[in-house]
Amino acid sequence: MERTVIRGVMVASLLWLSGCGSSDLSQPANETVIGGEVVVDLDGKSIKYSLLEQGVPGVDENTTVYGYKAYKIPYTTTDEEGNEVAVSGLMVIPTGVPDVVKQLGFSVVSDSHGTIFANKEAPTQIALDTSSPDGAPVILTSLTAFVTLQADYIGFGDSFGHYHPFVLKRSLANATVDFIEAARKFAADNNIPLNGQLFLTGYSEGGYAAMAALEKIEAEGSMQVTLAAPMAGPYALDAMAQGVLFSDTLGVPSFMADVAYAYANAYNRPLTELINEPYASKLPTLFDGLYTREEIDPELTTVTSGEDGLFTSAVVENYFNDPEYWFKEAMLDNDTYQWAPQTPVRLIHCQGDDVIPYAISELTEGTMQAMDAADVALVPVEATLAAYGMGDGSLLGHAECAAPAYGLTAQIFSGIREATIGY
């Protein structure tokens, strides 16, 4: 109190001396937009410098690098239970592009992100926290001038607190497709020129989400997709589940634990039907969006099933012996490979994938072709890059494959854009 009084006297004395008013330091005057907020805005020169510092392959002084401007866009979607949910997504546009690109308009890539557990890993949250470019949009936007869309998915961003519907195709497709529509409206409201061309992609869970989104789009006929290139997705969930449950150990227990947690929630079943204690009691906390995979895995066991395992013995027994077992039916219900896309599809996958077997994409390709898909082809990443003189064809695991897979996908999209749009 005494300090306050003295401060008041001092300040009053100073004001008397200076005859000047006072004000607080106002908030930074960031650009305002309609229906969202700018969360990252970095020029191409700075990004190029950063890429050169990191020694990113294929980037040198002569590489054209565009600026990266990201918006967080709120929108609504529908969850597995049919409820409307307020969610968010990240839209990244290239800046500093030639006038001809603006005149012809931007092509859009919907890039569904891979598996995350913590909210701080969500696209909009990373952008808010770091004000920095991150992940695939650097390749898709700054290096190849696409507008990139990344839905946070239900459970992250603005819907933090809702359980994340991990590999549940309806809500993942809803979140993806609804964001494309929301982003198109945002672009129209803010004079961002789009040319209508749309590509779908995504890695791992994102590959699965991209395939689910394509299935929804074709079913509804709501928009035109030029090409879908899902990457390393678990399209055949039943086959994946059989492989996992047949194994004695789990490579990454958090993945399967999250499947069980999400499906128990979505299908309104007790989690203890699937997961042994003490893990069943831990999962609501571990999957509350505050923990990363690196923090979750040590809290779980790598033993697949049995008394000391993650899954109950009943799950394994029922999955292989009861064709009407609800969990098996749910897996089959959420498969995304048993249909015939009429949109061209390129299944991008590394043959060395140690998490989502390459065979899943082979199965998907074969099944879709057998069902009279229009144009589905499997693209093995290592061999394709080696054919272009990039890499020696060595097999790449799931994590190592992501960056080259995105690079390859960006090249495929760019080639089509050049042939169709003209740049």
Binding site: R3, I6, R7, M10, V11, S13, L14, L15, L17, S18, G19, C20, G21, S22, S23, D24, L25, Q27, P28, A29, N30, E31, V38, V39, V40, D41, L42, D43, S46, D129, T130, S131, S132
Partner: protein, 405 residues
């Protein structure tokens, strides 16, 4: 939090002694180059040596002054594009002092001064990243007392109340996509002590001490990465260092006075320039440039002063000279304060208009030495390449009035 923006032209001050301390706080002290501790005569005695108030006449004293500080630009020379030149600055600072009538052996007084400050602005690419603007404004309210032990010895002391504002702006411009604008203020307290011994009527021996005050500037910082900015609560602490003065004066025929003054300034309390934020900065580049503590490790300094006063009927002439060390080591020198050793020359006069009223003017030149940096020594990324600082220094012009009644 209350945030007060004050006109720089009135309350800013600048580095005119070593680093950002400003010893000259009145007409007499300006004219004598702050060799004004043992032999003080006006109301500014309250500030420079409150013990001396005990020996002043049986009346009240008032002293006011305005000082125009002109800071020429500092030039940093290296190969392009690293070279740069700071902005010139013109700043006006007011000071006021009052000494009361004696109350028995006691007496009180009060000063309002600008005891330190700094304004450095660069508009050249590499310098802007570190100090687009670095401003520290201080104003001190210093109530003091004296006690006359006997006719030869008196002691004094007071409370230092310092209000301070800081502004820091950094702009990576074309170098890096970073920008910072911080404003903060604080109210801090300290003390000062003084004693005077007069072995004879014409000799004064004085010792004064002003305590260290850590100025913790608290406020907000707007920090941009690219074109997206966020606001953080923020604080940064810089010391207003303790200073010990030992002075002796001798007066001949009540006409000519010579004063020698030694000042030890305890700048070693300034170890780091460490900005703290209410939450972690957004990314590693921002942390590296704006959050990691910057080493300072300044050293204590010595300043030697001599002042001469000649009283001729109604006019008093004064002049001074000082050798002033910089506390800033080569290793931690930065663009916000490219300080160097200095020689200080000063002169002035006071005219006795009436028995009660006098006025005068003074001029002081703070001549900074050029400073060459050996490559590989400085921690600053640019200054580690070497280069040299030239120019800088300061020209101070003071007009003042005194009234005794």
């Amino acid at each position: 939090m209350k945030r007060t923006l004050l006109l720089t032209t009135l309350l800013g001050s600048a580095a005119v002694a070593g680093a950002y301390k400003l010893p000259e706080q009145s007409l007499n002290s300006m004219a004598l180059g702050a060799a004004y501790v043992a032999h003080t005569t006006e109301a500014d005695t309250a500030y420079f040596n409150p013990a001396n108030m005990a020996f002043m006449g049986d009346k009240q004293y008032f002293d006011g002054a305005l000082t125009l500080i002109h800071l020429p630009s500092t030039t940093y020379t290296l190969i392009e594009p690293y070279s740069g030149e700071s902005e010139e600055e013109n700043i006006v600072t007011p000071t006021m002092h009052y000494v009361s009538n004696p109350i028995g052996n006691w007496r009180w007084g009060v000063s309002m001064t600008v005891p330190g400050g700094l304004t450095k602005r660069w508009d050249t690419a590499y310098q802007k990243l570190y100090a687009e603007e670095f401003t520290l404004k201080n104003v001190e309210l210093n109530p003091v007392f004296s006690y006359k032990v006997n006719e030869k010895f008196a002691v004094g002391g007071g409370i230092r109340v310092v209000y301070s504002e800081g502004v820091v702006k950094s702009d990576g411009g074309d170098i890096a996509p970073l920008k910072r604008h911080m404003e903060g203020d604080t109210l801090e307290f300290g003390y000062n002590l003084a004693m005077t011994y007069r072995p004879t009527d014409d000799i004064n021996i004085a010792v004064t001490y002003r305590s260290n005050i850590d100025l913790k500037e608290e406020g907000e910082a707007n920090i941009w990465f690219g074109d997206v900015g966020k606001q953080y609560s923020a604080d940064v602490t810089v010391p207003l260092p303790a200073a010990l003065n030992i002075a002796i004066s001798k007066t001949w025929d009540e006409t000519f006075t010579l004063e020698f003054n030694y000042e030890r300034t305890y700048w070693s309390s300034y170890k780091y320039l460490d900005f703290n934020y209410g939450e972690p900065l957004a990314n590693d580049l921002l942390v590296e440039k704006f959050d990691d503590p910057i080493d300072k490790h300044w050293k204590d300094t010595n300043t030697f002063r001599i002042g001469a006063t000649m009283v001729l009927n109604k006019i008093t002439f004064m002049m001074g000279f000082a050798l002033d060390e910089t506390p800033v080591p080569d290793k931690t020198i930065g663009f916000e304060l490219p300080d160097s050793d200095a020689k200080i020359f000063s002169m002035g006069f006071r005219y006795q208009q009436t028995e009660a009223l006098s006025w005068g003017a003074a001029f002081l030149w703070d001549s900074k030495e050029s400073r060459s940096l050996t490559p590989g020594v400085a921690e600053n990324e640019v200054l580690s390449y070497g280069g040299s600082f030239d120019g800088g220094g300061a020209y101070l012009t003071t007009v003042g009035i005194s009234y005794a009644f």
